[in-house]
Subunit: 213 residues, 2 copies
């Protein structure tokens, strides 16, 4: 397999792609159709050589003396990131964090369709948020199977995360976006992808920087 | 300056330290006082050589044939991360995300004292959440100055972030934990630290992994 094959993009580059995605989207919304690696590097505060190196990883869309075609670069990065797949997601746990996520345009912008909300709380079940109504977690497996749900967003208490994830993985959920502070792993489902969000790690990085400024 | 000087720890290592911090805290709470790099590597799913390399960066507390003393390693990493500084923080914007953050034990565990809540919404001002009462954002500069606030957590709309941050920086706030999707930068305050949390980037990384599983 060649280095240009998407399977071979390093994890570090992949982690940077969403940032390119955001910057390119901003450029497009400002009708900027062409950009040099130098300009992009100034905006993004990374070196131009880093940008050229990163973007070369998946083919390289830059042209000497012309720069990058913003639209095609954006569309290529979107494709690599799976934006065109139209993954469907459910939120499990409609507490404050769950509610905060429901209200963001984040999903739509990234091609993810928020398709269901689940909670155990009787006071919440039946309540509507935007277009969606909170369902009973008892029904989540059936719902996920019938609606081809790929992503479960876990905004429920740490103690509930593992059992809930096992149930959802057995119902065909392919990826978990886990906001509980538990480090989720599912050894019995090696193909399932888990993105553990540790907000506390980001807070610690900030504290470190302040302490060492 | 030697490589062991904390100022010279690479950014990549710093980004991994909060994870060590979490794992070591779990070990301590399970009364595990000693661990080899091999055991730690199995738990954390990184190579033992990576662990030795990382921990050597700031002195190396391992002892051949004994492993690491969990307590002293935890305390050393805590110190490096600024946990002992007792930074005080305020939340600006008490919407769903702000409320979700108020209720986590995240701050206390990391030595950060949540000291004030601010919002513009008259219906929220005066309301109490735990020990804290929501104040009017008009008063935030005075409060931050008088209470030696180091960190402002920005959970307010994107459009308000820049102006709010400028006001807070001028009131002595040293670091911003920015949850709005805006890429905050404050060129007039070069010493101020900004941690932009882009939750969408994490969602994209998940989608990529699912698409390429």
């Amino acid at each position: 397999m060649s280095k240009n094959d998407s399977k071979y993009i390093s994890k570090a580059v992949i982690r940077r792609l969403p940032r390119y995605f955001r910057y390119l989207r901003d450029l497009l919304s400002n009708d900027i159709m062409r950009i040099s690696s130098k300009e992009l590097s100034e905006r993004m505060n990374v070196t131009a050589s880093q940008i050229r190196q990163d973007l070369n990883c998946f083919g390289g869309f830059g042209q000497q003396g012309y720069g990058y075609n913003v639209k095609s670069l954006y569309s290529e990065i979107s494709k690599i990131l799976g934006v065109d797949k139209g993954y469907k997601a459910v939120i499990i746990g409609v507490g404050n964090l769950g509610k905060a996520l429901i209200n963001t345009p984040m999903f739509e912008k990234r091609g993810v369709k928020l398709s269901g909300l689940f909670d155990v709380d009787c006071d919440l079940i039946g309540k509507s948020f935007g277009q969606l109504t909170v369902m009973n977690t008892d029904d989540m497996e059936t719902f996920c199977r019938e609606n081809d749900i790929s992503i479960a967003i876990l905004t429920l208490p740490k103690t509930e995360v593992y059992d809930t994830a096992i149930r959802l993985a057995s119902a065909g959920v392919k990826g978990f976006w886990n906001f509980s502070n538990a480090e989720l792993s599912l050894p019995d489902y090696p193909d399932v992808i888990i993105e553990n969000v540790h907000l506390g790690d980001s807070l610690m990085a900030l504290c470190y920087e302040i302490a060492n400024a």
